[in-house]
């Protein structure tokens, strides 16, 4: 078992190191083979480990890292069902994305760098997933952040990409700081950093501590999972290559925050306030992402905002005391969003790099029929149309909120349902614009879609299958809830609150209806025969608001970035140079001035010298006389 886990982690690590050290001299073919093999091997190990572990949590010390006094940071792996699910998910999607990348990136230079980061990313992600020690987790946490940074900025020559990368790194690092602080608090409270220990002894924490840690964990998750108010980096992160967006910014890394909340759920759940805040943040983020997605022009940005929205849903589920539901939605989102991104990648490649949905249209559908099919499945799943996996997972989250005793969650339920409607609307807006868009003002210069390599499309199939039929892993009917049961041994994770079957079915049908209404609205507005052609060139203020993601970037610029820079300039010019340093140099200058004055006394004239001599003698007498008196 231990060796399985070791290999699980080592494969991608060695793959990454292999590229890092030998990268430049490496043949592209070898590079690709190694990269894909590393991840595939990892996938096999993940599955094997899951099978061997058989649903029991197992903790293995892998390596000593460091330990001083009570602080022991050993690289311990915990392979419980939660970790197993995540590990399989991560390696599975990573394997597909690696495969996809082989074709997708075949014309790009810097392949060694690309695969190096991608492999390392998988490694770090697996570290997060399998870590028991919080610091080990932190290693992965920061590692994925760095890889994400490097991959977003993969096309570093364009300043826009580099800036997006920096933004992503910085904002997620704010979350990291929160996580670090939380780790510090854990350490002070438990003198231990083992999550296993912490989750089993969470009751020891005082109420204030629980609240603080809960909020900090939420902040950490907000950074990584792009929740409000730290969501701003994710849309910009789309500057990276599309497979990267699929893997990191849709399926895996962004879910790390959610995973963290799940892992430490037993702590989080102790604080009702923190739970409430979590749920609220989730709901608002979901709504925010969905609304913003409505007005985007860039296919990837639509998906990115959609990811923000879906992450909000997951957190909403956790906040509503249904962590398993959150995980379920995490899985389903991973499938359909990865699918959508990869499909979008096919489209973009076919259109030689075109991202603007207003420049796509019918021709795409004709050129890429298989992609069209896959995209449709993904869109349906995202829009939560039964019987896709998306339907089941989202339905469960909404139901949980409704059945929650607190009235507060009913409000959240309303927001959630509204978001479901908007979700269906924007995803089908996207769908119709991309595949059915007729000739418009911008479409005149639209590039001709070309064919894509079939391998690209093949990688979509498994995802499409899962997005469509993955729901069976946790059907809310009878004992079909495999996932729930599988996760039972994990601390804190259990089945959702029981609701009466009628309510259950009512909500279920209602949700399906809402989704279909949304699709209908989208059809009316953007379908093959829209009610009116939207003039995309003259956006009104509402559209601007949505397009810019509620001006969040501007707000940050105005209230955070600019004051920060101003403070920097002030400190640098006024305080450091004009204040602290001026004191130092000023004292030197003062000494010089004194020096000049003293030298003026040395007039070179004997009369001065003799006069001062006499004065000195007199002064001496005065001092002595004073001493006598």
């Amino acid at each position: 078992m231990k060796s399985l886990l070791m290999m699980l982690l080592l494969f991608p690590l060695l793959g990454g190191l292999y590229h890092a050290l030998l990268g430049v001299r490496l043949d592209r073919r070898w590079s690709e083979i190694v990269a894909v093999a590393a991840v595939a091997g990892s996938l096999i190990m993940a599955v094997a480990a899951a099978v061997v572990a058989g649903g029991r949590p197992v903790i293995f010390p892998l390596l000593e890292w460091f330990s001083v006094g009570e602080l022991a940071a050993s690289m311990d792996a915990m392979y419980d069902p939660l970790a197993a699910v995540m590990a399989v998910l991560v390696t599975f999607i990573a394997a597909l994305v690696h495969l996809f990348s082989v074709i997708y990136m075949r014309r790009e230079g810097g392949y060694a760098r690309y695969y190096c980061y991608l492999n390392l990313f998988v490694f770090f992600m697996l570290v997060i997933v399998t870590a028991d020690n919080l610091l080990f987790l932190f290693l992965g946490w920061e590692g994925v952040g760095f890889c994400s940074y490097a991959l977003i900025g993969f096309w570093y020559r364009d300043a826009y990409h580099a800036d997006a990368a920096r933004k992503a790194f910085l904002v997620t690092r704010i979350g990291s700081a929160a996580l670090g602080i939380a780790i510090g608090l854990f350490f002070t409270a438990f003198q231990s950093l083992s999550m296993d220990y912490i989750t089993h002894h969470a009751g020891m924490l005082s109420a204030g501590m629980v609240l603080a840690i809960g909020l900090l964990l939420l902040a950490a998750a907000a950074g990584k999972s792009a929740l409000l108010p730290l969501s701003i980096w994710l849309p910009d992160a789309m500057a990276g290559p599309t497979p990267v967006s699929a893997l990191i910014h849709a399926a895996t890394m962004v879910t790390a925050g959610v995973y963290l909340l799940l892992r430490l759920y037993p702590v989080l759940v102790l604080s009702p306030v923190a739970m409430g805040v979590t749920a609220a943040v989730g709901a608002v983020t979901a709504l925010y992402g969905a609304c913003s997605a409505l007005a985007q022009h860039d296919i990837k940005r639509v998906l990115a905002y959609s990811t923000v929205s879906q992450l909000g849903f997951m957190v909403l589920g956790i906040g509503a005391e249904d962590p398993t539901g959150g995980l379920f939605h995490l899985l389903s989102q991973a499938f359909f969003k990865a699918l959508l991104f990869l499909a979008a990648g096919c489209i973009i490649q076919s259109l030689s790099g075109e991202h603007d949905i207003f420049r796509m249209g019918r021709k795409v559908r004709h050129a890429l029929p298989k992609v069209y099919g896959c995209f449709l499945i993904g869109a349906l799943s995202l829009a939560a149309v039964p019987p896709t996996i998306g339907f089941f997972s989202k339905d469960r989250l909404l139901l949980t909120n409704l059945t929650h005793p607190s009235i507060f969650h009913a409000v959240l339920w309303i927001i959630g349902t509204l978001t479901t409607l908007i979700t269906a609307l924007y995803v089908f807006r996207l769908f119709f614009l991309v595949f059915y868009g007729g000739p418009g003002p911008k479409r005149t210069q639209a590039p001709e879609p070309g064919p894509v390599r079939p391998i690209l499309v093949w990688t979509l199939y498994p995802l499409a299958f899962l997005a469509l039929a993955g729901g069976v892993m946790n059907l809310p009917i009878g004992s079909w809830n495999f996932l729930d049961r599988y996760l039972m041994p994990v601390a804190g994770l259990g089945p959702p609150l029981e609701a009466s079957p009628s309510l259950e079915w009512g909500v279920r049908i209602g949700n399906a209806v809402v989704a279909l209404i949304g699709i209908g609205l989208a059809y009316l507005a953007y379908g093959p025969r829209p009610l009116k052609e939207k003039p995309a060139t003259a956006p009104d203020s509402m559209q601007n608001l949505l397009y810019s993601g509620f001006y969040l970037n501007k707000l940050y610029h105005r209230w955070v970035v600019r004051p920060y820079e101003q403070a920097a300039a002030f400190l640098s010019n006024r305080v450091d140079h004009g204040g602290v340093d001026a004191v130092m140099t000023g004292s030197g200058r003062l000494a010089s001035r004194w020096s000049m004055n003293l030298r003026l006394w040395t007039t070179g004239r004997l009369s001065t010298y003799l006069g001062v001599l006499l004065a000195g003698f007199t002064a001496m007498l005065v001092i002595l006389a004073l001493g006598l008196l």
Partner: protein
């Protein structure tokens, strides 16, 4: 109050007056001459205080040799005393005189607060013979030293005098250096 006392104060007044005149004269020759008077007064005071040999030496060396030297140099330099305004004189004198006055008060305080200041001096006389014997028995070493000192001074004077001569030669014969 004895005769000696009277003589002492008389001599004191003479000496002080002469010194005061000497230090304030604009004309250097006058100053030197007043100083000679002051030295004579001191010489008599020496005599009064029991040092006849020193009184003689005072006249010979101070009033005689040194002041003659002064006069000689004054003559040689032919320094002309330019009349100066009172304001300028005051500007020069004010600080030293104030300091001098303060010092005087303090010195007076220090002197007069010491017990021995009220010890009355009785007339006595050191015979020159005794004095001479004392000098060469107890103080033969300083005598040797001062002879060296005077020797060095002599050498110095010679050297500087020669330098002055060279200076004058150079002035008269500006091309000497090149030839040398």
């Amino acid at each position: 109050m004895t005769l000696y006392t009277g003589i002492f104060y008389l001599l004191g007044v003479i000496t002080l007056t002469a010194t005061a005149m000497a230090v304030t004269r604009r004309n250097l020759v006058h100053a030197a001459l007043w100083l000679v008077v002051s030295f004579f007064g001191t010489s008599l005071l020496f005599y009064l205080l029991g040092a006849p040999f020193l009184a003689a030496l005072e006249v010979i060396i101070f009033a005689g040799a040194i002041m003659i030297l002064f006069l000689f140099i004054i003559m040689t330099l032919r320094e002309e005393a330019a009349p100066r305004s009172f304001r300028e004189v005051w500007r020069r004198w004010r600080l030293p005189s104030i300091l001098g006055l303060i010092s005087l008060v303090l010195i007076g305080f220090f002197i007069l607060s010491a017990a021995s200041s009220y010890h009355r001096l009785m007339p006595a006389m050191a015979a020159p013979i005794d004095f001479g014997r004392f000098l060469v028995t107890d103080y033969w070493l300083p005598v040797e030293i001062v002879s060296f000192l005077l020797f060095v001074a002599l050498v110095g004077v010679l050297y500087l005098g020669r330098a002055t001569d060279e200076l004058e030669e150079e002035e008269s014969l500006p091309s000497v250096e090149e030839e040398a």
